[in-house]
Amino acid sequence: MERELDFERPIADMEKAVQKLKNLTGDQKSDLSDQLDELQKKLIERKKEIYDNLTPWQTVQVARHPQRPVVHDYIDLVFSDFIELHGDRCFGDDRALIGGFALIGSEKVMLIGHAKGHSVEDNVNRNFGMARPEGYRKALRLMHLAEKYNLPVVTFIDTMGAYPGLDAEERGQAEAIARNLTEMARLEVPIIAVVTGEGGSGGALGIGVGDAILMLSHSIYSVISPEGCASILWRDASYNAHAAEALKLTSKSLLELGVIDEIIAEPPGGAHADPQRTADEVKTVILKYIKKISSRSPSKLVSKRFEKFAAMGKFTS
């Protein structure tokens, strides 16, 4: 593990011990093989224990882990034959939000996702997955193309938020997101949205209006970042953990609030501990929902999606 989080230290220590035993040679090794088995079993248990009991703020850190799989990892591990389609036909091509034709199993889909990177260089190139209006407009263009070609849309959500920059405001960040929300509401092909890392506010929702909304177990989805919330409502950014708790931004909370349809389980130690296993699970669940939703007629699909979002919220009357 390249960068361990505080609460992952016990795991890292045990992993080192396991590695040490594994590195032994010959007789020494066979003598200690029972001990190795035991330690490995304990390691899995400990990982599970830690990851089953993450606080919301720890979950935020896992969701932002630099080694957490990003959309390009999923393109390799979940999909095959991805052909990227570029540009919004209006201003430019946003590398922070990508899309294209792809195969998942034998299903042809339109894949759209925020693109974070693992390295700083990669992240700078991708603007840390924070899209500009041209990103949202490209996404919408690809969704309309998917509608024309009768392909389900699969979106991968992983962004701190839409890019808060001068140029983004000038080119209508608000309008771009608003347009997507409006158009996605009536798109006549299935839309499956998967929150894989950070679901940051309007920038996440801009590709998130799905017939099925899924979340990886240690991803987050929130109206505002814990830091932003803390600085506004506590007037102190150090109240991050309080804000993370109050915002109810974990997958478990969102399931309880009726916002998402299903939690995709991550392996013990989180998605970054075993990207392949995570991807296999993601693939299985996406295919399940494609199968389920594709049976709906276009009019049924759109009316069910409307009902789904119309029912969201809790108020008194």
Binding site: A178, T182, V223, L233, A246, L249, L257, F315, T316
Partner: protein, 278 residues
């Protein structure tokens, strides 16, 4: 009463009286006689600064007299997250807002007429938790759209909001998708939807129903934008000009059809709707 306390009390009551009689314009700093300001639709007669007005004041100056019929007025906030922040529980803030404004939510919705044309209207009120988009707000705006849809009546929404309501977490965010889903159905049935953006229309409200009008109209000087000025300044590490995110800036960049003085809004809305030829 000792003289100095008496003098202070007199001074305080004089200041209070002055506060009641005069208003200081937030744009040109002129002191304007309050009654003149109100008679001028809460617009500064010296510099045309458009002050914030309440939802009912807006309804009073926009709809034909005696035609407004409120709908869904009992919808009010719940507390889905049992939210408590540094300043206390959300429930208390809601109660304070209800006491202060006499409103149940940050939007008032209803039916009425503009120069004889039947319409459905939603008017946000900034005094109620900064006009924030809570579940109740989203529900009322959607139900307004649904009424338009069912009865084929034009829908006019006046926005005045700082954005999503953090205290309702993800459910607040989902109101953006919910309200837009309502507007999308109006597009499908080809029912007019006019958005009037007033000061301020930012964050989650600008990034949902407020920006997707058939015609987007703003009041002069209104703050309109997605991200907050401070966040942007911190991100790009440069100072933004005063004109940034004003209605005039947004018009210049192509996201508004027009900027209309408050006194001309009713006439303009009526004229725009007269072109609906179905």
């Amino acid at each position: 009463m000792p003289w100095f306390i008496k003098a202070k009390t007199e001074r305080d009551s004089r200041t209070k009286l002055a506060d009641e009689m005069w208003i200081k314009c937030q744009q040109c700093n002129a002191h304007v006689f309050k009654q003149d300001f109100i008679n001028n639709l809460s617009v500064c007669p010296k510099c045309n600064w458009h002050g914030k007005i309440t939802a009912y004041e807006r309804i009073g100056m926009t709809l034909d007299v005696g035609t407004f019929k409120e709908i869904n007025e009992n919808i009010r906030p719940d507390d889905p997250l049992s939210f408590v922040d540094g300043k206390g529980p959300y429930r208390e803030k809601v109660e304070q807002a209800r006491q202060k404004t006499g409103l149940n939510e940050s939007v008032v919705t209803g039916l009425g007429k503009i120069n004889g044309t039947f319409i459905v209207v939603a008017v946000m009120d900034f005094r109620f938790l900064g006009g924030s988009l809570g579940s109740g707000t989203g529900e009322k705006i959607l139900l307004g759209a649904n009424y338009s849809y069912d009865h084929k009546l034009p829908y006019i929404v006046f926005s005045a909001s700082g954005g999503a309501r953090m205290h309702e977490g993800i459910l607040s965010l989902m109101q953006m998708a919910k309200t837009c889903a309502g507007i999308a159905r109006l597009n499908e049935r080809k029912i007019p939807y006019i958005s009037v953006l007033t000061d301020p229309t930012t964050g989650g409200v600008s990034a949902s129903f407020a920006m997707v009008g058939d015609v987007n109209i703003a009041e002069p000087g209104a703050l309109i934008g997605f991200a907050g000025r401070r966040v942007i300044e911190q991100t790009i590490k440069q100072k933004l000009p005063d004109s940034f995110q004003t209605a005039e800036f947004v018009l210049e960049h192509g996201f508004l059809d027009m900027i209309v003085n408050r006194g001309d809004l009713k006439k303009t809305l009526s004229y725009v709707l007269s072109f609906y030829n179905r």
